[in-house]
């Protein structure tokens, strides 16, 4: 716990760093909310008009003043108003987050459901043809850009079968679970494909390591049958790298899968941030990047907790 509390103490520091970084970098990008709204017509504005719009978008003051104001608000839980949505940033983020969270969970479930058994299976067939088969499949999964997978899925389904999940919308899970799943299954498969591949590879190599450990030999010397050796003795020990990987990937997915959301037209966090950047919606970019960073760190914390659950050495020792 000591270790975890110490991690929690560094949270605000990292968040502060992220906020400064995003604040500065988004402002360094040429163009602002005015050119984003008006395009080349912005050239028709008189200086007075421009000043009025700058005040309207809240970009009329110096950076430090803007940052200070924003930070004070953020500390009070007010991340500002999104100029494209005309709503508080936090509301916008929370509207988009359920989809992103669900998509991440679904892809992770797919990945673990396929990757874990495949990896364990491959480890027991070390260097045999079936192992090679699993590994090559995994590598193909890892080596295909996900926009290719996504485009192919859409093409094959729409041309070959004439069916397609509803795109561009998101029905909350509790409103209509079937429709919700229908909307998310393709993107989740697209993301889960590569993710499953990584899980397979990590699980395989971790299992191989663990299977050569002394305690596995001990279990065998006690007459434990092969299945018990695999699932009860070896797997819990091999899970740590799998948890690490899943945590990292899941953390990334919570940041929104920009490309897949783009292809499947999902209104998720990733596309929202991308659009916010393109439309120079500074408050929304700042707020959502901060939110994503927070998610990432919370997931990392959860991963640490998962380690502790898996491994009593971490649970009971004070790291």
């Amino acid at each position: 716990m000591n270790y975890l509390t110490r991690r929690l103490v560094t949270f605000p520091l990292v968040m502060l760093g992220v906020s400064v970084l995003v604040f500065i970098s988004i402002r360094l990008v040429p163009g602002d909310a005015i050119t984003a709204m008006l395009g080349t017509e912005a050239g028709l504005l008189t200086p007075e008009q421009r000043a009025a719009l700058e005040a309207y978008f809240g970009i009329d003051q110096s950076w430090p003043v803007q940052y200070g104001r924003w930070l004070l608000g953020a500390l009070k839980g007010d991340l500002g108003i999104s100029v494209t949505f005309g709503k508080p940033v936090l509301d916008v983020i929370l509207e988009r987050f359920p989809l992103t969270l669900e998509l991440a969970l679904l892809s992770m479930a797919i990945a673990l459901l396929i990757g874990l058994p495949a990896g364990v299976f491959a480890a027991t067939r070390n260097e045999k043809p079936s192992d090679l088969g699993v590994r090559i499949f995994a590598m193909i999964g890892q080596s295909t850009p996900n926009f290719v997978v996504g485009l192919l899925l859409i093409y094959i389904l729409s041309v070959g079968f004439g069916v397609l999940p509803v795109m561009g919308a998101f029905t909350p899970l509790f409103q209509d679970p079937l429709e919700n799943l229908g909307q998310l299954i393709l993107p989740a498969l697209t993301l889960g494909f590569a993710f499953a591949a990584s899980v397979t590879r990590i699980a395989r190599s971790a299992m191989l390591d663990v299977l050569s450990e002394d305690y596995v030999r001990t279990a065998r010397s006690k007459g434990a049958p092969a299945m018990s050796v695999l699932w009860r003795h070896a797997l819990p020990n091999a899970l740590i790298p799998v948890v690490t990987l899943s945590g990292v990937e899941f953390g990334y997915l919570l940041g929104g899968a920009v490309i897949v959301e783009q292809i499947f037209a999902l209104p998720g966090l990733g596309r929202m941030v991308l659009d916010a950047i393109l439309q120079r919606d500074y408050a929304l970019v700042q707020g959502s990047v901060l939110f994503i960073a927070l998610n990432f760190m919370i997931v990392n914390l959860l991963v640490d907790l998962a380690y502790a659950m898996l491994d009593p050495r971490i649970r009971l020792g004070d790291r």
Partner: protein, 580 residues
């Protein structure tokens, strides 16, 4: 009566073509119920592979029995050839009829399962017990191996127990189903001497209690003297000699057996101590003088890591070391002996105390006057550097240029420590453990030091190699007039090299003085216990007493200072800490 186990013409190979790479050849032996067979050999002799072939765990290590049979008589009298048995039959036999314990208790227990779960497993698998019955059985098993407070310990995880305790847990799990054969693969090698004695005593007692046969694998022929009925000596995968214990020990036939018995250091209670050095009567400048050396590590807790106490790793150690003299520092793990050595080399900052080598160098800095040889020759040489770079490092560190003269010294030293001339152009992994330790010694001598600190310098080596390296050290000492600070847990080794001995316990020297005197007439209770625990071929059929005392905690509250040492003299050069 048919023997319990009859192995004949066993061949075991590894790799893609097992027949071409046989590690074990032509091994045959019989073992009767209730008897103990000791398999003795050095690393690579095939002793462990032989043992693992019996319960066929060798299959999982990539090995394969290529020829021979292992006839095992089951409880119902039927004989089964284990070499041909199916995996299904084998799962029944493993754990149920043949138990096994391993060398490293720390890694041989599953770190994520509790002790209880791991012992219960055997009962579930072979006795069909579940739930409360299984835990009750597990508690009984722990009681059987004399683990105090068994009910609570069942919920512990492996990392919460010491090595000795874990090995008892291993034994508890292995014998839980009353196997008819127990295979013990170097079960005490990783343990301290006193703990080793406890485990040996436990095994002997269990053997008396049950009618269990045992195969005991070891590299230390002295260790089996107390427990074995028959002995089998192996070398390079083959059996070179086998027979009754007394016969083999008293009238060894094979040269290798004779070599093991004679050349290898065995503890002789001071009779084998060196006598080639006498301290000068008039006070002379010591090569190294250590006064009041104290090393403490802070113990912190809470969010802000406030210091709440300190580990008193070394507490007020004084000694001096004359040129040409060896001081052996003896103690068990956690006693502070290695920390002392490391503090002298500046690897850990001393909290207090002074030490001076006979050159005027800054304290706490590595100096060319004091050099060190580490325990593990595999870890103390950078695997990515060539030998010439390794030997050049001290020279470069001392700010000197690597000249032709340097290279000449390298070649000379390599030759002196017995390494081939072309060694300079090779990498550490091309050498054996013993050769690497010679390399380390050569490196330590590059700068002509006056003191060499040898931290368990021969402990990781095979027994016969140990003897040769010790011999080399003695020769070098005489040749260069070196002073050695020899840190070791192995009384037999210390006896061969030390002129004087300091016994360390819980961070303090409890007894110091002339080697012969201390080894033959120990005065401090800890020294006595330590010496009593040392196995020896002289102590044949002698059983050890069970002793479950633990090393006291070295963590002290903040500001704690120990009482000043009260010494009691027992001779011209022999004093011990007075005991309450």
């Amino acid at each position: 009566m048919t023997p319990l186990l009859s192995v004949s013409d066993l061949h075991v190979g590894f790799g893609r073509d097992p027949r071409a790479s046989e590690i074990v050849r032509r091994v045959s032996f019989d073992l009767a119920a209730g008897e103990t067979l000791a398999i003795v050999g050095e690393s690579g002799s095939g002793k462990s592979v032989t043992a693992l072939s019996i319960n066929r765990l060798v299959d999982y290590g990539g090995g394969q029995i290529t020829r021979g049979s292992i006839a095992y008589t089951r409880a119902d009298g039927r004989t089964l050839d284990l070499a041909q048995a199916s995996e299904r039959e084998l799962t029944k036999i493993r754990g149920g009829e043949i138990g096994m314990i391993f060398q490293e208790p720390m890694t041989s227990l599953n770190p994520v399962l509790t002790i209880g779960e791991q012992i219960e497993e055997s009962f579930r698998l072979h006795r069909g017990l579940t739930g409360r019955q299984a835990s009750a059985a597990a508690k009984d098993a722990l009681d059987r191996v004399r683990i105090p407070d068994a009910a609570r310990r069942l919920k512990y995880c492996p990392h919460q127990l010491s090595g000795g305790m874990l090995q008892r847990v291993m034994i508890a799990a292995a014998i839980s189903c009353n196997p008819r054969l127990l295979i013990a693969d170097e079960p005490t090698t990783a343990l301290d001497v006193t703990v080793q004695a406890q485990i040996m005593a436990l095994l002997a007692e269990l053997k008396r209690e049950t009618d269990m046969a045992m195969i005991f694998i070891t590299h230390d022929i002295g260790l089996v003297a107390g427990i074995a009925d028959t002995v089998m000596v192996m070398q390079s995968g083959e059996v070179v000699e086998q027979g009754r214990l007394d016969t083999v020990l008293d009238t060894p036939q094979h040269p290798y057996t004779r070599h093991l018995l004679s050349a290898v250091p065995h503890f002789e209670a001071g009779r084998a101590a060196r006598t080639d050095f006498r301290r000068p009567d008039t006070p002379a400048a010591p090569a190294l003088k250590v006064e009041g050396l104290t090393v403490r590590f802070p113990v912190t807790s809470g969010l802000f890591r406030r210091q709440t106490g300190a580990v008193h790793a070394v507490d007020g150690v004084d000694f001096d070391l004359m040129p040409g003299e060896t001081l052996g520092i003896v103690g068990e793990s956690g006693s502070g002996k290695s920390t002392t050595a490391r503090a002298i080399l500046g690897l850990v900052p001393p909290t207090r105390g002074r030490f001076s080598a006979n050159t005027n160098l800054r304290e706490g800095q590595g100096s060319s006057a004091v050099q060190m040889v580490f325990q593990n020759p595999y870890a103390s040489l950078n695997p990515r550097l060539r030998v010439d770079s390794i030997l050049a490092e001290p020279v470069i560190a001392a700010g000197r240029r690597v000249t032709a003269e340097t290279t000449q010294r390298m070649t000379q030293l390599l030759e002196r420590v017995g390494l081939p001339k072309d060694a300079l152009q090779r990498y550490p992994h091309e050498f054996s453990g013993g050769q690497r330790q010679r390399l380390c010694i050569a490196r330590a001598l590059m700068l002509n030091p006056s003191v060499v600190v040898l931290d368990e310098a021969v402990s990781a080596l095979d027994v016969s190699v140990q003897a040769k390296v010790l011999q080399l050290l003695v020769e070098l000492q005489q040749e260069f007039g070196l002073a050695y600070l020899f840190v070791s847990h192995d009384m037999a080794v210390v006896e061969r090299i030390a002129h004087r001995i300091a016994v360390v316990y819980a961070g303090r020297i409890v007894e110091i003085g002339d080697a012969t005197s201390i080894l033959s007439k120990p005065k401090h209770s800890y020294t006595k216990r330590l010496i009593a625990a040392v196995p020896s071929i002289d102590r044949r059929h002698q059983t050890f007493d069970l002793d479950t005392r633990q090393v006291p905690s070295l963590v002290r509250p903040l500001g704690y200072e120990p009482d000043p040492a009260a010494w009691q003299r027992y001779g011209p050069d022999h004093k011990a800490l007075a005991e309450a």
